[in-house]
Symmetry: C2
């Protein structure tokens, strides 16, 4: 029923536009009553993003079950749940991407959904960084960076028409955040002994993120 | 006129709530006609944030005039314009902070404004990083991190009732981003000679951001 309503709604949005489609149009197309619609969706906007509530619940469950060895890696894994939801249905996701860009009300709705993911990630990190100096600040900055990186990778894939490798696109983007903030970046093995060291020599004027890249590349070589 | 309308609106929002205040109530209180309201504000939400358009214009001007030596420092300076707008009127800003937390429509509106700042900063950085690998990705991640840090500092100050030092709160928060992404962090002089070097020794399992903090502290000692 849920899927039938979402599909009917989406067909109509594409045919006549989001603004000019009413809930009555949607239930008529789906062949159900008006009350059925509101049993599944609080509003016309929600039908465009039918899976975000489930995804948020999955994200919360993943974060609750995570071991705390690599909090940044964990929030990156949590963000990948969103990507997988989009990648499960490329055609629908690409159509929605274009629709969302055209309808201001949907953009606003999407912003509020993205913000809920970001808050969920930040809350987890706040718990992990509890008691450390500037814990809440680090939690919020890292959550925002993870969401921005994820969305950059996701949008690249959507702009390509859902053709390329969505996971690879997002993994690459999240790698930038893990490189800077993570406990150990991609390709770097967890150290077996605590006495392994890395020595970096850099000119003083070098941008900090280039220093980090250099540290990374040295670690990757070992 | 603009200020008179904003003040009348805000008094009414505090007295009877945002939802139960109409534009007619506002113009009656301000003693002007209904058309005057819409000449200044597209909607009831806009009157709660009367200065964001001007601030966005100031931000764009600052970014256009900036020299490009330290793009991350420049976007941090641009973000500080938002802080200064809030700090110019602490009482109003603190009341609005509480009002915004209570009214979902205002939270959504605020999200869309924050997003516009973030896009403005990201667009500037995209231009600066043009032609570098992953330039757009870095631009979006850094813009998101700057906005998150700024908002963390701003909210700390708002939660304190606007009592503390707003600029210090935001400077501290932005310092975390500049430490990781900036060309040179707070307290680190611009290098006079290109051959100054820093040597860092860290255990391989050390989280990357702690490596960065260590690099920073070594640089600061010199």
């Amino acid at each position: 029923m849920r899927e039938v309503l979402a599909e009917a709604a989406f067909q109509l949005f594409l045919e006549r536009g989001f603004e000019r489609t009413t809930v009555d149009d949607i239930v008529a197309r789906a062949g159900v009553g008006r009350r059925s619609f509101f049993r599944y969706f609080p509003s016309k906007e929600d039908v465009v993003f039918p899976d975000h509530e489930r995804c948020l619940a999955d994200m919360t469950a993943l974060l609750e079950a995570a071991d705390d060895g690599d909090p940044v890696g964990t929030v990156c894994d949590a963000a990948r749940l969103v990507l997988r939801m989009y990648a499960a249905n490329p055609e629908f996701s690409v159509q929605r991407y274009h629709l969302t860009r055209e309808v201001p009300g949907l953009r606003t709705y999407e912003l509020s959904v993205v913000r809920r993911y970001e808050r969920t990630l930040a809350e987890y990190l706040r718990g992990r960084y509890d008691g450390t100096p500037d814990g809440p600040l680090h939690a919020e900055v890292i959550a925002a960076a993870v969401v921005a990186a994820h969305n950059n990778g996701l949008r690249s894939w959507l702009r390509s028409g859902g053709k390329g490798d969505a996971e690879a696109s997002v993994d690459h983007a999240l790698g930038v955040v893990q490189q800077v903030w993570g406990a150990a970046a991609e390709g770097v093995a967890t150290p077996a002994a605590g006495d392994d060291v890395v020595v970096v020599v850099a000119a003083k004027g070098t941008p900090m993120w280039r220093v980090v890249q250099k540290v990374e590349s040295v670690l990757a070589e070992d």
